[in-house]
Structure formats: C-alpha cells, structure tokens
Subunit: 241 residues, 2 copies
C-alpha cells in the first residue's frame, strides 16, 4: 500500500492549494543545512549540505497543514513566513534550539548534516602558521538525533543517513542505535545528494519496511517522504491521527 | 598627493561610464573568496570569506579599462560577462589556475582568503565516528601569493592581510617576506571584515607609505584601492603607464 501511495504522488504535480491536510493540528520540528564548527574567528569545519532537502520538507509539511519549526544551519535558502525558522551555526547551538522547540512536537525530522566533531579548543584570535604541520584535536559533538529521540520516546523521529558507501548497512545501524521510527538513506559523493536539486533515497522503518524511491526532485521527494511518515505514524499511533 | 586622490574618489558616486581608463591595456589577475580543503567527500575546512572584496576589485578594474581574470573559490557572487572567471575549490587548484593565468599579467591582486593548511590525507569515503576524539593531521598549503610574487619579479603584486589582532605588524611582515609591492590590511572578527558590505583598511607599500582609509562600502573601496595601485605602479614604473 505504501508503494502505491508513493507512485500516486509521483504522478501528481505539486499544487499546494489542493494538498491533503494530513498534518493539520500536528507540530513538526525539522532541522536542515550543515553546521559550522569554528577553529578560530575566521576558520571553520563544515560540510557540503545545502539545506535543500530539509527546507523542501519544511515547506511540504506546512502545505500539508502542520505547524512547522525549522532549525537551520547557514544556508542560502529562505522559507515561507508561516514557518518558524531558528538560525544556528554549531551543533551545540542546534541541540539547544531543538531542545527548546521539541516540547509539544509530534514529529521530528532531522535532515541537517550535523558535524560529528568540533574543535576541542577554539582559538579566540586568528591562528598563525606554525611551521609545516598542524594537529587539530577534535571532540565529538552531541548526537542531536539520538539525544532527542531517546529523551522523547513518544516523538515520531525520522533521521537521515547520507553515506558515500554501504548506505543501507549504515542506515540500518543508525535506525536501531538511535531508536528512530524511520530513516531516509541516500548516497552522497561527487555530483550526488548534497547541493543537488534531485535525490534518490531508500526509506527504512523501525518495523522493518524498506521502500526504494526513484530519483526525483527534492520538492516532490519531500511530499513523498511526508506521505510515508504519515502512513507509518498512523499505523503506530492509530489514536493520534 | 595619494591622500588627496583618495578623498577625491570618496566624494564621487561610482558611475562606471565616466571612470578614468587608468588600466586600459593592462592585464590584471585577481583572486577572491575562500578555498575549501576537503577532509572527505562531504566535509571540508574553510573560512568566512564571502569574496565580496575581490569581486568588487574585479568589477572596478574592468570599469577602469583592464582585461581582468578572476580566480575564485566558492562564493554566492556573479561577475560581468567581460571578466574571465576561473572557479576552483582548493588552494592547490588556485595556485595552478594562477600559475597558468599570470603570464602577460601586469598586476596581481590576491584578495582570496586561502586556507593555510590542508589535510595530509583526504579520505575517499565519508569518515565514520571513531570514538570520542579525532586527530586531524594538516600540512601547509602552497603560499600562492609568495610563490607568484617571487617567481614574477616584474609583476606588481598586491596582497591582503585579514587579521583579528596586531594587524599592521602582521601586514608589514607579510609585505616584506612575500616581496609584495603593496598590502591591504584589515581587521576581521565578529561583524568585521568578512561577509560584510563595508570595510576599513590600511594600505602599506614597499617604499614605506602607510595610508589609512576610512570605513566605506567595498564597491567604493575597490576603486580607491585601484587608484592607489595605479599611482604606486606609476611611480615604480614611470615608463609603463
């Protein structure tokens, strides 16, 4: 049935005025974009996430009737006025924003590409060259997805796994380890996934479903992902929708 | 006399149609933006340079009659069609582009914020978390400005020094060590310099001049910097202009 629903929406053009209000009355929290982990006041570590997937999900969720909060790293994108956007730079700031916004949320979709590591010590002045080599000591950032999922067992939590290799294997591990309801897995690399307008994903759910979607525009994909979220959410919480 | 010229241009509005063609017949090579130094296919080290200063200088030099080549790191900016733009990501790619473009150039203006260091080994697959800590081994990038300046003694070479502290001291050292004709020094930090539309700079020349310009719009500043470059170039090479 899920596959049918997906193929159905694939053949539809997106006309937000006649989107079914499947998420009416729901509060959806979404993260998007990269984080930046500073080395000093001018340098930082980051990644190639453009934020396009997360922003598309935020717009689609709003079109489906949800009240949307978008916690976003630095991107070049803008969102509709009725979406509450909270801008952050670092993973720590993202965790703090998510923790304050998650209360009363029904669904959490973590589409941000959060930096796994940050600098152990951030220089307050611009670092000067120190000979031919430099060692950077990094420490792990908080795991925003796992922290939020485990602290909020009633929250329907969706993660993303962007991998260059062994995509399904890593995604399955992440789904279980972080106690997610669903994970959206995609391959990234040269000209794939990040900073592109289209994407090809696999969706895995906690109860063992595996849906392979064809490559499509991220805006269309956002609606398909949300349709699958609604159906899975409904199955797990028949009283809720 | 230089200070008078500067104050003169400050009070002018920029109307590119009546800009004096001081750079007619000159070939000017400009670098702009940050570089990105990859850790793996998705992560990289970079800095907060927006490219605005270098792009403004490229446009101003073209308006003053120069043939302009712009070697640019990743930015959100565009340039006029008559400017040749070469896009690169890493410092090594920037050096390679500069080395192929510098022949027959009269003036080289290095406004890019080149990463001093790159990863010693770039992972070909996305790195996975490896416990609580991570060491990154960095090695020095080529010094594009010094390499180009020293290999081309007849090239009029202008560097930039963006510093959080001891700005004039660092800039003076860089001017001498890299055998530059001129250096443009400015302070950067929170809300200063990088990614802003205005800037306040000091200009130091190899023959000991020190000009402090007031804070101004980067587009106006570009014309003022080029005016000072033309005057200094003229003094050093009276046969050339």
């Amino acid at each position: 049935e899920i596959v049918d629903a997906v193929v159905g929406t694939l053949n539809q053009t997106i006309n937000t005025s006649d989107v079914e209000q499947q998420l009416a009355g729901k509060r959806v929290l979404i993260t998007a974009g990269p984080t930046r982990e500073p080395l000093d006041p001018v340098r930082y570590l980051t990644n190639r996430s453009s934020g396009k997937m997360g922003y598309a999900i935020a717009e689609a969720a709003a079109a489906m009737g949800a009240e949307v909060v978008l916690v976003s790293g630095p991107t070049q994108l803008s969102v509709s006025d009725h979406i509450k956007r909270v801008d952050i730079e670092t993973a720590e700031q993202m965790l703090s924003a998510v923790t304050s916004e998650v209360e009363n949320c029904d669904i959490f979709i973590a589409a941000a590409a959060v930096a796994d590591y940050r600098l152990k010590e951030v220089a307050t002045k611009k670092m000067k060259k120190q000979g031919s080599g430099l060692h950077l000591e990094l420490e792990q950032n908080p795991d925003i997805l796992a922290t939020t999922s485990i602290a909020n067992p009633d929250l329907f939590t969706v993660g993303f796994a962007a991998e260059t290799n062994d995509v399904i294997e890593y995604a399955t591990g992440k789904l279980k380890r972080k106690q997610l309801n669903m994970i959206v897995a995609n391959q990234v690399g040269i000209n794939k996934g990040f900073d592109k307008d289209s994407n090809q994903v696999d969706i895995l759910t906690a109860d063992g479903e595996h849906i392979t979607l064809p490559e499509m525009n991220k805006k269309q994909l956002a609606f398909d992902i949300l349709d699958i979220i609604c159906q899975t959410y409904h199955k797990e919480k028949p009283h809720a929708l």
